[in-house]
């Protein structure tokens, strides 16, 4: 690894930091030592000042005490003399001089009389001119008779002219009155001189203050000492300490006199009103310490320089090492890289080989010259179940049974003898679990330098499964051909494009008439089996889907017989080629049978229809017949009879509707289309539908405003709406929404193309929508077929939607249906728009209209003929009846009879109604005619519809008939 420049910088920083820290530590130590030393010096100075102060206290107190004792002695002498009567001036003078001589430090020593005149003392110097009466101490002692020492402020002696302090005592007369005082002047110069003996250094100071803190004396004397005496003195700190009541203390302050910083100790004299302050200048007592500081700084400088030099040298050494190390690292790295590369390469090779061996399903092995395994790849375990360790040292023959060993040894005899390669030797080995494993071996011999065989290296491949698969394939192919040949359907294999037959089975030959030999090699078209067009159907279907199922194709047998084959084909891979495998069934017979079946089914359907209708009809007939019976029984009860007749009418009307529906389905109903507004027609029907549909279904009708008119029989429209409603109801057993909507729509060319049976133009659209069960796609395809019903037996005839479809188709309309199972169904009906406006023809039906005229009634059924005649006569007509066309012709030939109308049945023996009328018109050309029929197909075509002709559907009602006749004859 190579030290990077970053490491170099890091090292340098650390080195500098180390040097700096070391020096900082040394400086710290020096600083601490110096601080201790300074403290020590300061402490020593404080002690010195305190000692000096104490010494001075003792010294000054001694001086003051000695002086006071002298004053006391003189005072006693003077008072003694006064007690004797008078002071003997000489005696006292001498006494004073004697005392003064003992105290040379006193500048003056005298006594005054009561007036302050210093009259006693050394004579030569006595002067009377000087009075002390103005002095404070004089006044103090004169006015206070107590026995006390008075000390004055510093003053200049009136006699000596020197600065001094006066110490005085009162002399009392024998009566206690003031007789004068004794005083001594202590020269300040003496006090100052006494300070000189004490060592306070070059810049020290000693100061004496009185209790007013006024300067008494100071050493050294300042230039202005004289003027300073008596003034307030001392630093701020000193004043504060005094205020605190301290009598002794030490402090540091700047001198109030010369501003120099000193350490001071002050002390109040024990028995006298003075403070002594001793100060040592910091300049003096720290001079030694300053030398120490200088020395220490010098040492530190030396140390610092030494460490820097050392560090520099160390760095240089380190840098050299670093460069050398870098070189070593580079070499190491290169070496390592090479080693890694080689190791990786070796590992890769080994891994590659190992991977290959593991991935191979084969087992690699090596045999020595004695045919013992010296190596087996791990895959041997997969092949035989033995681990390589279990294999090594053993012979391949150890894993074979005797028979196989013998076979293999024989097979390899030649190979080993000539030291040849082993090529694709198949042999069985017995696996660990006893299976027979089929292996194929390939191996090459290897030799030593002298060319002697050392052994074989080779690979074993397990081909058990492969052999089994080949076997299975062979069997499968055999089976395929057996099935192919014996299949009950016609089968062939051919090319797709050409249709050239490559193989055909027995059945194919049987049906087509072509033997296998005849058809193989030919194309089916060449053989005349099918036409090119039919063949193309197969090819195009196969091309799009690769297979085709159930294609009905026309084939021709060898003898030319036409057949229908149901063809299925699929592309298969056979022998590496894409070929068409065809399978066909001859369904010619089946088709014939289907046609027959279809026909019989139709008949069956008619039978079912008849059964259904018969049930309903029989019900109604039961009612009619029963009521007739009851009428007979209650013939005398008109009210009852009317009731029975109403029942009969209802039953008959119901029967009429059934007939209409049946005929409507078969399109044989006599329809009478009129121009109408579908909205009002649906609205009318809707009233009765609400009851039909039930309360659990919400029923809405949304009509389009200004809906176009359509032309349709209103009964048919009712039928459509009715059927749709019933279907919707049945589709919503659990309730839902049923809605009818009407719209005007216009189809363009494109839209009309999408709806088979419509032309471009205007249409009225009626939509029926329910939210019911819906219809699946399969059912949707059949819903319009007759008899198709999903309802339970007896619940629907299967005619509803078929009827609807028939009606719509009859009226040139179309119907569409869309449905989502589970969501609902929508039927949409389109009728072409009719541009004429509707006529009001309802009035005809409103009531029976009476009229007059002559009618020839032709009806072969007696009951009907008689009933009709009776009814027509009742409403005012003259009626001639004929039971047959022959009879009718006879009546018509009688021109004396005034006949206005022939009212004839359509179907009669001899001739039908139309022929009859034609015959009658030969003699009565202007006679009008009314035809009655139960079947619409019996109605004449347009050509036959001559003027003055009307048709009426049986059964007819009197109201309708009376209206027709009234219009006709009017």
């Amino acid at each position: 690894m190579t030290p990077s420049p970053a490491i170099h910088t890091y090292f340098l920083k650390r080195l500098i930091a180390g040097v700096f820290t070391l020096n900082l530590m040394v400086i710290g130590m020096i600083w601490v030592a110096l601080q201790n030393s300074k403290s020590h010096h300061e402490e020593q100075a404080a002690i010195t000042t305190r000692n000096i102060s104490r010494v001075l206290d003792e010294n000054l107190s001694g001086i003051f005490s000695k002086t006071d004792i002298a004053l006391q002695v003189v005072c006693d002498e003077a008072e003694h003399q006064l007690k004797q009567g008078v002071i003997h001036e000489d005696m006292l003078n001498n006494f004073i001089i004697r005392q003064h001589s003992r105290l040379p430090e006193l500048v003056s020593f005298r006594a005054t009389n009561a007036f302050g005149d210093a009259v006693y003392g050394p004579r030569s110097k006595v002067t009377t001119t000087t009075s002390l009466a103005h002095r404070d101490y004089f006044k103090l002692l004169r006015d206070n008779p107590g026995n006390r020492l008075a000390i004055s402020k510093p003053l200049i002696g009136g006699i000596s002219g020197k600065w001094m302090v006066i110490l005085a005592r009162r002399i009392n007369a024998p009566d206690g009155s003031f007789a004068g005082l004794v005083y001594a002047g202590l020269g300040l110069e003496y006090l100052t001189q006494s300070f000189l003996n004490l060592n306070v250094g070059a810049n020290g100071s000693i100061t004496l203050l009185d209790t007013d803190l006024s300067l008494v004396s100071r050493y050294p004397e300042a230039a202005s000492t004289g003027s300073e005496i008596g003034k307030k003195h001392g630093s701020r700190q000193f004043h504060e300490l005094i205020k605190e009541g301290k009598t002794t203390a030490t402090y540091t302050a700047n001198s109030s006199v010369d501003g120099m910083k000193r350490i001071f100790s002050f002390r109040r004299l024990a028995n006298h009103p003075f403070y002594i302050i001793t100060g040592l200048s910091t300049r003096d007592y720290l001079s030694g310490w300053r030398s120490e500081v200088f020395e220490m700084l010098l040492f530190e400088l030396f140390f610092c320089v030494s460490t820097i030099i050392f560090a520099w040298r160390f760095h240089q050494e380190w840098d050299k090492n670093r460069i050398a190390q870098q070189a070593v690292y580079a070499l190491n790295a290169e070496l390592e890289e090479r080693v890694t590369e080689r190791t990786k390469s070796a590992e890769n090779s080994s891994q590659t080989l190992q991977s290959i061996l593991e991935c191979m399903s084969d087992c690699a092995w090596a045999l020595d010259s004695n045919q013992r395994f010296t190596y087996c790849s791990p895959n041997v375990e997969k092949l035989l179940g033995y681990t390589p360790d279990e294999m090594i040292g053993k012979s391949p023959y150890n894993f074979m049974d005797d028979e196989e060993e013998y076979r293999v040894r024989s097979a390899l005899e030649e190979t080993f003898l000539h030291k040849l390669r082993i090529k694709n030797l198949e042999h069985y080995s017995i696996s660990k679990d006893g299976r027979k494993v089929l292996l194929v071996s390939n191996a090459v011999p290897f030799f030593d330098d002298a060319g002697n065989l050392e052994g074989y290296r080779g690979v074993d491949t397990d081909i058990t499964e492969q052999k089994r698969a080949e076997e299975a394939l062979r069997e499968s192919n055999d089976r395929f051909y057996r099935i192919f040949n014996n299949a009950p359907t016609m089968m062939s294999i051919s090319t797709l494009e050409e249709g050239r037959c490559l193989e055909a089975n027995k059945r194919f030959s049987e049906i087509s008439g072509f033997s296998r030999e005849e058809i193989i090699g030919k194309t089916f078209v060449e053989a005349g089996l099918l036409t090119g067009a039919e063949r193309n159907k197969i090819v195009s279907a196969i091309r799009s889907n690769n297979y085709v199922n159930d294609l009905d194709l026309t084939y021709y047998s060898k003898s030319g017989f036409q057949m229908i084959w149901k063809y299925s084909g699929q592309m298969i891979q056979l022998d590496g080629k894409q070929l068409l495998l065809s399978s066909s069934m001859d369904i010619t017979e089946q088709r014939k049978l289907e046609l027959q079946l279809l026909h019989s089914q139709k008949l069956d359907a008619v039978g079912q229809l008849a059964g259904g209708i018969a049930h309903d009809f029989n019900n109604k007939l039961t009612v009619i017949l029963g009521c007739v019976e009851l009428t007979h029984m209650d013939i005398d009860n008109p009210a009852k009879i009317r009731e029975y007749l109403d029942e009969i009418t209802t039953a008959a009307e119901h029967s009429q509707q059934m007939t209409m529906q049946l005929l409507g389905f078969s399109r044989q109903q006599a329809v009478m289309p009129i121009v109408l507004d579908a909205n009002s027609c649906i609205a009318e029907t809707r009233k009765s539908l609400s009851h039909l549909i039930g309360e659990h279904i919400s029923f809405t009708f949304t009509p389009e405003n200004n809906l176009w008119y359509i032309e349709i029989d209103p009964v048919q429209l009712d039928q459509i709406v009715m059927n749709m409603t019933i279907n919707a109801r049945d589709a919503m057993p659990n309730g839902g929404v049923f809605s009818i909507e009407t719209h005007n729509v216009t189809f363009n060319q494109e839209q009309s193309k999408q709806r088979i049976g419509t032309l471009p133009g205007d249409y009225v659209c009626i939509t029926f929508r329910d939210t019911g069960t819906g219809i699946d796609q399969n059912t949707l395809e059949h819903i319009f077929e007759p008899f198709f019903t999903t309802k339970e037996q007896g619940k629907g005839t299967g005619l509803g939607l078929a009827t609807v479809h028939g009606i719509i188709h009859q009226n040139r309309g179309v119907i569409e249906v869309s449905s989502v199972p589970g969501k609902g169904t929508t039927f949409t009906v389109y009728f072409p728009r009719h541009h004429e406006h509707p006529q009001d023809n309802h009035t005809d039906h409103e009531a029976v209209q009476s009229g007059s005229g002559s009618i020839l009634l032709v009806e072969d059924e007696k009951a009907l003929r008689e009933t009709s005649a009776l009814l027509l006569q009742k409403i005012g007509y003259t009626v001639h009846t004929a039971e047959s066309p022959g009879k009718a012709l006879k009546i018509a030939a009688d021109l004396t009879l005034g006949l206005d109308v022939v009212f004839t049945d359509m179907v009669m023996p001899e001739m039908n109604g139309i022929e009859l009328v034609e015959r009658i018109r030969e003699v009565r050309p202007n006679i009008k005619s009314v035809f009655a029929s139960g079947y619409s197909t019996e109605f004449p075509t347009g050509e036959q519809m001559a003027h003055h002709t009307v048709f009426i559907q049986k059964p007819y009602d009197l109201k309708k008939l009376s209206g027709i006749l009234k219009n006709m004859i009017a």
Partner: protein, 125 residues
């Protein structure tokens, strides 16, 4: 005097049969379908049941099936609507059970009352 239940989906037929049978002095109860008929048969006692075969909801065959399981059942007249042969065949197919009398529609007074009389001779006055 008998108590008779008539089951038919056609209101007119019901009304007519009621007229026929009340005229004969019987007490008549009606039901419009098989389901309601079975309900009435469960709740009440009847001497005779006259039932149509083809009806909505449960039809006449179901009524017959139900009645067959009842230990003490009334007499039964099945009124068959359509072709006699088809309905009779259906009746026979219902597990070998048939009504006591099957009469085809249209039914007239004498047929119905005659059948009732045949089945309930002791009820005649």
């Amino acid at each position: 005097m008998a108590r008779i239940l008539i089951i038919d989906d056609d209101q007119q037929v019901l009304k007519l049969f009621v007229s026929f049978l009340t005229r004969e002095g019987h007490e008549v109860v009606t039901a419009e379908d098989g389901k309601r008929g079975i309900k009435l048969l469960t709740d009440q006692q009847f001497d005779l049941v006259i039932t149509d075969i083809i009806m909505p909801e449960q039809d006449g065959l179901e009524v017959l099936m139900w009645l067959r399981k009842q230990p003490d059942r009334p007499k039964i007249i099945a009124v068959t609507g359509g072709s006699v042969s088809i309905d009779q065949e259906l009746l026979l197919k219902t597990a070998g059970f048939t009504a006591d009398i099957a009469i085809p529609k249209p039914v007239n007074y004498s047929t119905l009352t005659g059948a009732v009389r045949e089945l309930l001779p002791e009820q005649e006055k």
